[in-house]
């Protein structure tokens, strides 16, 4: 029995190693299933909670064009959430259960969304930096072993790239604008830079799960590698914008062929992860409010659907 489980696990791993995709109906180790439920739903929650900081500027967007683009972007995030919840549901859990986990504080979402959006430039900075960081992760995940997740990533990456360009373009417009606009952009970068570098998770030395995740191709690069990639790709973009990255230690390292950068405040990272970021409570509270105040609507839709089904059955029987 145990031997046969071992065999199963071995052939499962062989499939992954050969680059085959695991599909929902395939046999999979319990830990693989649980890890994927956790990770994909966490990703879905991040999309949904991530609607809030950006949603905060929809009513105050400075032009009709930007308002429409921002509405569409936040709507895309809802779409991504929907898509990812569906991918999670293939693993045998319902969206309602996942939502309950989020609201009970049992499931995580990306900590970056616990920071406030304090100016219009934050919308640009989020597109440019937060989406930029997300894409680095997601491009990697297009090659992950679980089929529905990998496919979701392909689709999501396309839209995220569009969002990222849009964010960069917002920044570019500000940086080519008036002094007040440029300052707004700089202040946004000042606030978002370090939290964005934290998005890749704790340093490799402290990172758990890495080995197993590598085997399942959830991770193809380490946190620090991805973070370095983020820094390397962003520095020239900031130069192009004429903005100053708020890190006095940032410097090109010829011998490494990478930028060196300063120490991340990991105390802040853990503080925010553990619930004491500037907006953790507000974000969860907003989601809880939407969920609770929407309960009667969802119940009504269900009741109506049942009535309709009955009516159809009756009229079919007649």
């Amino acid at each position: 029995m145990s031997n046969s489980l071992e065999n199963l696990e071995q052939s499962f791993q062989d499939r992954i190693d050969r680059g085959e995709k695991i599909e929902p109906k395939d046999w999979m180790p319990d830990r693989y299933r649980k890890t994927h439920i956790r990770q994909i739903s966490q990703h879905a929650h991040s999309e949904i909670v991530g609607m809030l900081p950006e949603g905060n500027w929809i009513t105050r967007a400075p032009s009709l064009r930007r308002k429409v683009a921002l509405l569409a972007k936040v709507q895309d995030e809802a779409g991504h959430g929907l898509y990812l919840y569906s991918a999670t549901e293939t693993l045998g859990i319902t969206r309602d259960e996942l939502t309950e986990q989020l609201l009970a504080g049992k499931a995580k979402y990306s900590s970056i969304f616990n920071y406030p959006t304090l100016s219009w430039a934050d919308i640009g900075a989020i597109g440019w930096l937060v989406d930029g960081a997300a894409i680095i992760n997601q491009v990697m995940l297009t090659r992950t072993s679980f089929g529905p997740y990998a496919r979701a990533m392909v689709r999501i990456c396309k839209e995220e790239s569009f969002h990222q360009r849009q964010g960069f373009e917002i920044m570019l417009t500000l940086c080519r604008g008036t002094e007040a606009q440029k300052q707004m952009a700089q202040y946004a970068l000042d606030r978002w830079w370090w939290p964005c570098l934290m998005m890749f998770g704790p340093p490799d030395a402290e990172s758990t799960h890495t080995e197993q995740s590598m085997k399942w191709k959830i991770k193809l690069k380490t946190n620090d590698e991805l973070r370095q990639q983020m820094v390397d790709q962003t520095v020239p973009q900031a130069e192009l914008l004429g903005l100053t990255i708020p890190d006095p230690h940032l410097k090109w390292n010829e011998s490494r062929g990478h930028y060196d950068f300063g120490e991340i405040d990991w105390d802040e990272f853990w503080r925010v992860v553990k619930g004491n970021g500037p907006c953790n409570k507000e974000r969860l509270e907003a989601r809880r409010k939407a969920w609770e105040e929407g309960a009667w609507v969802r119940e009504a839709a269900l009741a109506y659907a049942e009535k309709e089904a009955e009516r159809t059955a009756v009229s079919a029987a007649v």
Partner: protein, 252 residues
Amino acid sequence: MNDQQALYQYLLLLGDSPMILGHRLSELCGHGPSLETDIALTNISLDLFGQVRNYFQYAAKVQAEGKSEDDIAFLRLAHEHRNVLLTEQPNTDFAHVIGRQMFFDTFHQLLLEALRDSKDEQIAAIAHKSLKEVKYHTRFSSEWVKRLGDGTAESHRRMQDALDHLWPYAGELVQESPLEKQMKQQGIGADLEQIRPLYWERVNAILREATLEVPENSWFQAGGKKGIHTEHLGYILSDLQYMQRAYPNMSW
């Protein structure tokens, strides 16, 4: 008012209601009762703002003072807005959102159907393009009225409360203002006299099917078309206009 000024004002009247309603819907983005409804309402908001842009770009051209769609959208004072009062009503709960939408969509579809025959080719083209979107809106909101009206006891009560609250604002849509009369006579504007019976007929049919009571016909509130609004509009504008007011004359 000469023809050009009247046309400009009429374009404001056509664009302002979608703008204010689109704004109200956009307040909800990320806060809906389910992802599906959140996406759908955001979609309606997007459609409406798209239409607003069409109207205001054209209005800017008609006005010929070198203004942009954004000047028109963000830099008018409260009394210069021509939207109906219905669109200012707050997002009290989902039933109010749906009720407000159903009244507006039902009218909006009839309006656009009429405007397709406008002598003004631009308006006819915008109407033609918008109509496809608005037919979807009408289906969405009327189906939700039914779902809530004929759902649970609570949803029925809430939907009826919402209707009772919104009813006094449902008539202004089809009350012809002097400007609308002038535009109708020029063959540019829609004929609200023709739309009115159809509007009430459809609204009544939706309510009937949703097992809801048609509220007693009280006095209909009006004033939006001549710039006399509810106290809500001022607050809407202080958010809507904040960036353009605080950072004047900049490109975004």
